[in-house]
Subunit: 156 residues, 2 copies
DNA sequence: CCCTTGGGTTGGAAAATCAAACCCTCCTCT
DNA sequence: AGAGGAGGGTTTGATTTTCCAACCCAAGGG
């Protein structure tokens, strides 16, 4: 998934180059849930074993997962999220929320997540500075590297 | 990208089935920036024209983009985000922030986004109920549909 | 008339994915 | 001791996707 021709230097593209391949984020979902064993991952993500194997290698090398020995004799491994991996969990929660609302229309949700405050988690992406929810109209792109030419209404 | 075998009913998987294919989120990025014309999309995402064409069809049919005529004679089209599409923008911002921090380590950022409050946008995913940032330790998964068996430390 | 721009479609080669089978180590049961 | 099973993968060959370049069409422009 190397973005060999993408003329835009872009952290979104870079991030997707690491976690944007098929199954990668589902693997992260499972690992964050604590289901970090190979065949749990096979069952729960539906990924073919060889693909899963490739994804795990990539995610470990990218510093998103670690491979941990949880039993010597017999040798058994488990994958766990690193700090960087855990910091992607909010992305998963946001994707989940979008799917809950737009694809399932809020009915028959297969899983809920409870926040420590006691309510069901409804993730809201906010501006770290002012705390307001991020809305499209409030954003202005300010390109800082060559390759960025903006023409539309959002342009700076 | 039909998740034909994924045994888990999951809104994350469902959402990725719609926007998780290669280039889809980059297309959305450009469209949100106002670069909604076919060859702008080709240049800015690096997607092959046929793939782009397929992605656009899919995103329109999924209700994430709309195809708008901006010039009759000669007929010229432009893609724009729908409300549902705009609601995915926070996901893009969160991915960007992760990439900025973990892949570029904060140096030489190719693009900044400014929030209407005047600061540079640093998106933070928060709990809609209490407003606190979402951290892994504060989350508890509560499966509600069959197919969900949790074994790890995050299990309910 | 010829060339360019915008917005695609088509065809064949290259790469990724898939499913099933296989392998190896250790463990347990008989 | 042998049979069988679980965990954690790798290998093989068929199927799908992606990729790239070429092509097509309609509408200006010089």
């Amino acid at each position: 998934m190397a973005a060999t021709k993408d003329p835009r230097p872009c952290s979104i593209a870079d991030t997707l180059a690491v976690v944007g391949e098929k199954y990668s984020l589902l693997v992260l979902r499972e690992v964050c849930l604590g289901n970090g064993r190979f065949d749990q991952l096979v069952r729960n993500t539906g990924a073919p074993r060889d693909i899963l194997s490739a994804r795990l290698r990539r995610l470990v090398e990218a510093g998103i997962l670690t491979k941990r020995l949880y039993s010597e004799r017999p040798q058994r491994f488990e994958y766990r999220p690193t700090q960087a991996g855990l910091e992607l969990e909010p992305v998963l929660m946001t994707l989940k929320e979008w799917g809950d609302r737009h694809l399932r229309k809020g009915a028959d949700l297969p899983m809920a997540v409870e926040h420590s405050c006691g309510s069901e988690l409804v993730p809201v992406v906010t501006c770290g500075a002012c705390g307001d929810p991020v809305r499209h109209e409030d954003l202005t792109a300010r390109p800082q590297a060559p390759g960025w030419t903006l023409t539309g209404p959002t342009a700076a």
